[in-house]
Each structure stands twice: as structure tokens, then as C-alpha cells.
Symmetry: C2
């Protein structure tokens, strides 16, 4: 198909497609003339993926590039794979939070991690500490008990997440990286639905 | 304090502060001369809030304006309040997802809501449907069972969230709107920590 066909198949405007091509996010089509190229279903799939990562998962183009690189060159063993997937995922989100939090928040984050028997992943501990500081700066109190309740729910989610991962490396990587990024918004919407339910029960709404 | 003092107190550059002032996100200081104004602690608090909503919660400036309007003019009864808070929260996020999803995804979303005894909130059902479609378009499978597991965890989170809401209307509104927006990133970080734990247990990492 021509680029107009790719636009029709994906619902992404031609100007945006040209931008993706220029940025190397979508591989070039097979040249059919000096100014035209032919695109196939692999291009349709890649465009949809880039769109989903930018629009739904809210990643920057630089982060999308990192995720695509990990997907294009997956490690061969399952052992390395989930680690690499997580690394790609967390690194791709690196631009969302750059600092490391205050000493107090870092201590709280570390204590929570130890309490739940989680890994002491430096990048994630720093990120959590910074997010706790941001809540504090906005006047939102996050008590230790409340944080524990969130962590307990997160533990259930993490177990459910890993249950979706299939044995072969390529689908496993796709599922960990894309599955997490694309179900993050789903989870936050479900949270709002549950809040309305909880609020109604306490007579609030 | 002068605007340079406000910048020092909040860590927000003077150019950004001037932008917030121009956009009406932060109220003007008391004029002390034709070109200078005096700012106080209420300005410090407001600047921190705007910063947290844009940086940590990732809201657009238009959405920040909606949230601030709800905070500045809270309903007087607790009954109206949680509803108004939720309305402000969901409306403020409106620009994140504009469509309504396919018929299939809308049916799935409705069935999940019915199964859990949640409210059939049109805006949230549409949003969930669209997010399910986005995952599907990126080749991420979200099974009914997995969606149920996420919903069960979300229900626990919703209950914990409402437990943090204090009786007086102004703090309740702040907590529902800001608390949700600012702990969304916390929840997603905890999810990643739990995934590492689950992955290690299955021998993955």
C-alpha cells in the first residue's frame, strides 16, 4: 500500500507517518519510485504500536525509541529477558522523574520495600521517593498505613501481571513492556470506578 | 517576598512563575511598585500545587485550571462534595482520552462494572473501553480473567483511598482530587516493584 493507504489502515495522518519515518520509529517502505514507497502489514503494526505508546502510554518519542529497540533485539534466554524487559520499561520512563527524593522519603521507600520483601531496585526506590515528595509538596498526606495498603494491592497486580507472560522470549518481552505501559491507564480508570463505589457506600455520593 | 524569593522558596524558575501568573494559575501578589509585587506563603503553596499537578500528575495547564477552580470553590455539603471532586478529577483528565471505544470494548467495560456492582459512569466506561482498544491495537492481550484481577485490586485501592478522606469539605475535596492524581504515579511505581518480586519468584529475573 502507499502511504495514504497506511494512513487509512491506521487512522494516523500522513504528516504524522512522515514524522515517524523521519525519526526512524517506523522502518522505511520498499521504494517503488524516487518519491514513493510500498508499505505492508508490518508497517501497520508498527505504526499502531508507536501510536499506542505515545498516545495511551504517554511516552516521549525518545522513550518510544528505547522500548522499540528492546523489542527489536530481545535477549534469547527467559532468564535475561524479564530483567531486560524491566530495564527497558523503567529506563523508558526515566524522563518522567529525574531526581532522587529527600532522605526522609528514600528511607520510607526503602522500609516499605524491605517490609514487603521486594528488591532494593535503586531506580524504582528513587522514583517512589520523589513521588512521595511531590505528594507532600502539594499538601497530600500519604500515611504509612495507606502506603502499605497500596503496596498490598500492587503486589496482587504484580502477580496477575506475571501470570499473563507467555514462555517464548519475544512475546514475554512484549507483554512485560507493552502490557504494563498499556494497562497502567486501565488500572487508573478502574481505581476511579472503585472510588465512586467506595464513596457511595460511605454515603458520600 | 519578591518574585525571586518565591522562586527560591519553591525551586521554580522566575520565568515559569511569570508564566503561571500570566495564565492566572497563581494569583497576583500585592503591588509594591509599578513593576514589583509582594508574595506570601499562600503563593508558595499555590506554586507548589501547580508544579505537582503538571510535573507529577502530568496534567495539562487547562486541566490544572479546572482542578484549581474546583478547589477554590468547593460545594458546602459532604454529599455533593465527593461527587463534585470526582467530577473535577475525571473532567480534568478528559483530554487524555477523547473517544468512546469500540462496541466490543464498551460491552466488556459495562460487564465488568456490572459484575463488581460499580456505578455505570458513562465517562469512565468510555475511557476504559478506549484504553482496552489501545492495548488491543498494540497487540497486548487483556483477558477477562486478568481484567477481573486488576478490578479486584482496584476495589481494594478505592476503599483505602476513601479511608484517607477527612470529614471537612475542603480537605475532602483536596484529598480526592489531589490525592488521587498524586498517588497514581506512586501506585504505578509500586506495581513495577511488585512485578520484579513476582518475576524473581517465577525464576524470571
Amino acid at each position: 500500500m502507499r502511504i495514504s493507504g497506511l494512513a487509512a489502515a491506521t487512522g494516523v495522518p500522513v504528516a504524522t507517518l512522515k514524522y515517524y519515518l523521519r525519526e526512524g520509529l517506523v522502518p522505511p517502505g520498499a521504494a517503488t519510485s524516487r518519491t514513493q514507497a510500498d508499505y505492508d502489514d508490518t508497517h501497520v503494526g508498527r505504526v499502531r504500536l508507536v501510536r499506542a505508546l505515545t498516545e495511551s502510554a504517554g511516552l516521549s518519542l525518545a522513550a518510544v525509541r528505547d522500548v522499540l529497540a528492546a523489542l527489536d533485539d530481545p535477549p534469547t534466554s527467559r532468564h535475561d529477558l524479564l530483567g531486560a524487559a524491566h530495564h527497558a520499561l523503567v529506563a523508558a520512563e526515566g524522563d518522567r522523574a529525574a531526581g532522587a527524593g529527600t532522605d526522609l522519603s528514600r528511607r520510607r521507600a526503602r522500609e516499605l520495600v524491605a517490609e514487603r520483601g521486594w528488591c532494593d531496585d535503586l531506580l524504582l526506590v528513587d522514583r517512589l521517593a520523589e513521588q512521595l515528595d511531590a505528594a507532600d509538596a502539594a499538601g497530600v498526606e500519604v500515611s504509612d498505613d495507606y502506603l502499605r495498603e497500596l503496596a498490598a494491592a500492587a503486589d496482587q497486580i504484580g502477580t496477575a501481571d506475571l501470570g499473563t507472560v507467555r514462555p517464548d522470549p519475544v512475546s514475554a518481552l512484549r507483554q512485560v513492556v507493552l502490557g504494563t505501559l498499556l494497562t497502567d491507564p486501565v488500572l487508573l480508570t478502574l481505581r476511579r470506578m472503585a472510588q465512586v463505589r467506595a464513596s457511595r457506600e460511605t454515603g458520600g455520593v
